[in-house]
Symmetry: C3
Subunit: 342 residues, 3 copies
Amino acid sequence: MEFTVQQIADLLQGTVEGDKSAKVNTLAKIEEANTGALAFLANSKYEPFLYSTNASAVIVSDKLEVKRSVSATLIRVADPYSSFSSLLQYYQSALIASKTGVEEPSFLGKDSQIGDNHYRGAFSYIGSNCKIGNNVRIFPQAYIGDNVHIGDNTTVFAGAKLYANTIVGSNCTIHSGAVVGSDGFGFAPQPDGSYKAIPQIGNVVLEDDISVGANTSIDCATMGSTFIRKGTKIDNLVQIAHNVDVGSHTVIASQTGISGSVKIGNYCVVAGQVGIVGHISIADKTTVGAQSGVSKSVKETGTIIQGSPAFDYKQNLRAMAVFRKLPELQRDLELLKEKAAN
Amino acid sequence: MEFTVQQIADLLQGTVEGDKSAKVNTLAKIEEANTGALAFLANSKYEPFLYSTNASAVIVSDKLEVKRSVSATLIRVADPYSSFSSLLQYYQSALIASKTGVEEPSFLGKDSQIGDNHYRGAFSYIGSNCKIGNNVRIFPQAYIGDNVHIGDNTTVFAGAKLYANTIVGSNCTIHSGAVVGSDGFGFAPQPDGSYKAIPQIGNVVLEDDISVGANTSIDCATMGSTFIRKGTKIDNLVQIAHNVDVGSHTVIASQTGISGSVKIGNYCVVAGQVGIVGHISIADKTTVGAQSGVSKSVKETGTIIQGSPAFDYKQNLRAMAVFRKLPELQRDLELLKEKAAN
Amino acid sequence: MEFTVQQIADLLQGTVEGDKSAKVNTLAKIEEANTGALAFLANSKYEPFLYSTNASAVIVSDKLEVKRSVSATLIRVADPYSSFSSLLQYYQSALIASKTGVEEPSFLGKDSQIGDNHYRGAFSYIGSNCKIGNNVRIFPQAYIGDNVHIGDNTTVFAGAKLYANTIVGSNCTIHSGAVVGSDGFGFAPQPDGSYKAIPQIGNVVLEDDISVGANTSIDCATMGSTFIRKGTKIDNLVQIAHNVDVGSHTVIASQTGISGSVKIGNYCVVAGQVGIVGHISIADKTTVGAQSGVSKSVKETGTIIQGSPAFDYKQNLRAMAVFRKLPELQRDLELLKEKAAN
């Protein structure tokens, strides 16, 4: 996609200084930009880059006083950061929207419906009895099992897998390699010490505005549903076990694992590589520090915990500070014991 | 799949109370069931739900005395829990069995054999010289490399990948995104500080009754085989490195990583997010607590360990209890030192 | 592939003792080898196996004195280990090279170029405007998005996914299930507590000689590029977040997670299950012990750290040794306090 600087300025209701017909085809940071790039200057700390940048155009403030010669064309706007953010949004939306139509071969099972203006990439698979909304993008090699429902404007990237009966809301993004609806890890120990699989016949429900990262796995419920509630964002390589219920607008960072039947509240922040044991509840607005192991329920809203096992993060910080000095503590104690023995 | 209550009762050798022609098409928990669902009541704690459930039918005990009006049809049996479990098994088996035949396009390499009553989903790939048993289900976009052997009744879900030369037994389940047989992580440091790949020409052997979770990776051996022995169950996102040998009827929970050449015994339980260093042995019936880091061999059968590095779990529990109080310990020690100095 | 012992000996410039026409079709360890296998003996500790092995041929030293009868044909060379290593290299190269041509159906987008002697497996997808070098192997179900560049001799295994705009150098190996270029995990908190996705329009650059393990995910930069520099090796299930820059000849073991905008130096070793917080720098030749949590920059070359949070590994070792004895320390302290109180 290529635009003239004037086209961009019109979009942003800005004014152009310099070559209006200069062409831009990408967005970049002012300190890294090359010819063809459009950058922005919002923080005066970066002003020196304005005079050295290779960008073809730079969005600057209406109020900026240019002190030296600038090779780039300038677009003057009221708020350069927010104008640039809008462009980023346009750019990404345009990229997604440019994917449209059906590439062959692709597979569409019987009695499945799919809405208007969709993209189905080559080697994508949609099973039987699926109901898929408008503006949905199914990238190549994605798998949508039987009876799956997907809302409007959702994107399923290349090779993501949705097992049968999964329900996905609108405006969701599911990244490559994510697996949604695999069997919960339920095995009943037998008298001879072997294990027998407990059938996992439930599903996964992703509500609206969910993001699921690359290579994340979310297991189906034994019966009923594993829930990810509206607006929650899940990073890459996260494990969510059967019958978990993650609240709304919660953020879960990479490589975290949530065991079976855990209930996580709304507006929580779970950092990376956290483990949460099964069958506990985490209150709303809880923050769990990275690499923590949460071994019991968190009852109070707004709690911040850290450590494995996790407890109050300030107390943990103080304990860790002493931990490093344990050899000195031990020596001091030995000296006192000797003294006391005499 | 839809059945009348009478059909279900005949299957379970139970007797019907109420509308024999009521139709059920799913299984659910009594407290969550909607119209069309069949639920069960085994624990008297849940009896109140019997009088409020929306289930179309409920499996109850021969001996249950109904105290109030019930809208659901009842199926009376000797042991409701075990009857319901059987139905779950039937249900899941029927679902799997309903997948049969070959969807096109799919790829079958030369000199490959596949047994009776199989399913090969669209875009599934089977290389050359493969031997695949009866009742095998290869879901869409699964990859079976050259020379792979698979036993009877095994299911390979959508997009799972088996590298060339992998051996899989009977009654195995391999979930979406699992990778079996990728190269072991072996690199020889060179004099200039760079690394040269050590060829990994071995394979992976999964014996019978193995379950491999979503997005788990199991590397091939450098030479010879990485083994997962009969009946072992592996959860999602687990890493098993080259030349590992995991014994029979062992359970490995999500996000655990097992380094190269580790030997794990039979009937072990390895909890989630555990790390095990390379070239050690873990005795039979060992239990490793969540997030532990196992840094040396476990020699005694039935050992329970915890922590990073891991040691006896009771001792670890006691040490962790004191860890939290380290700031107080430090202060007490300072006071004693002052006192002793005077 | 089958060879006579004489053919192997010619390749290695060795001399044959025994049946020159004996046939070998695989390589194996001397203690595990079966008929048809070629093994080697480099370490005298293994000499007893020479007299019991089922290998059809064994590579031994020019200087070895055979003490008992040997059923295998011998190939005498100056350095058995290095000769055997060369054979392993030949073997693996021959396996890869045997994959050639295009299996159908496969997808090649418009204006994409691919060099000589390539392999494109069935159901592989190459988008538009891609530039792919010579001797490249794209295995079945691999996904190469639009505008991707790939250098010579690179292998992309089954089902690996490269998002649009990814740049891959020469001699790289990308294993099954790896995802390169997925969106960075960037969400701006809104006044109502919900999150809005920050567009991630950058890409990933893998330089030459990179290895990316199975089910690893590497996110694209917000703008600009996430870099993996020449010669770096990444194991399975690793997470590399947006805008990370990993130096040359660095090794990152399985299940490690590197947060956004981290800069890692050259010649580092990062062990398994390590977590590194965002926006820090790690000096060249740093070693990070397994399961560590790195919470601040490492400034000195050659630093070795361990623990969560990580600090000097020797100090950590000493602190951990005392940690186990905390209950005894606490008891001793209590006794001293009592004594002092009297």
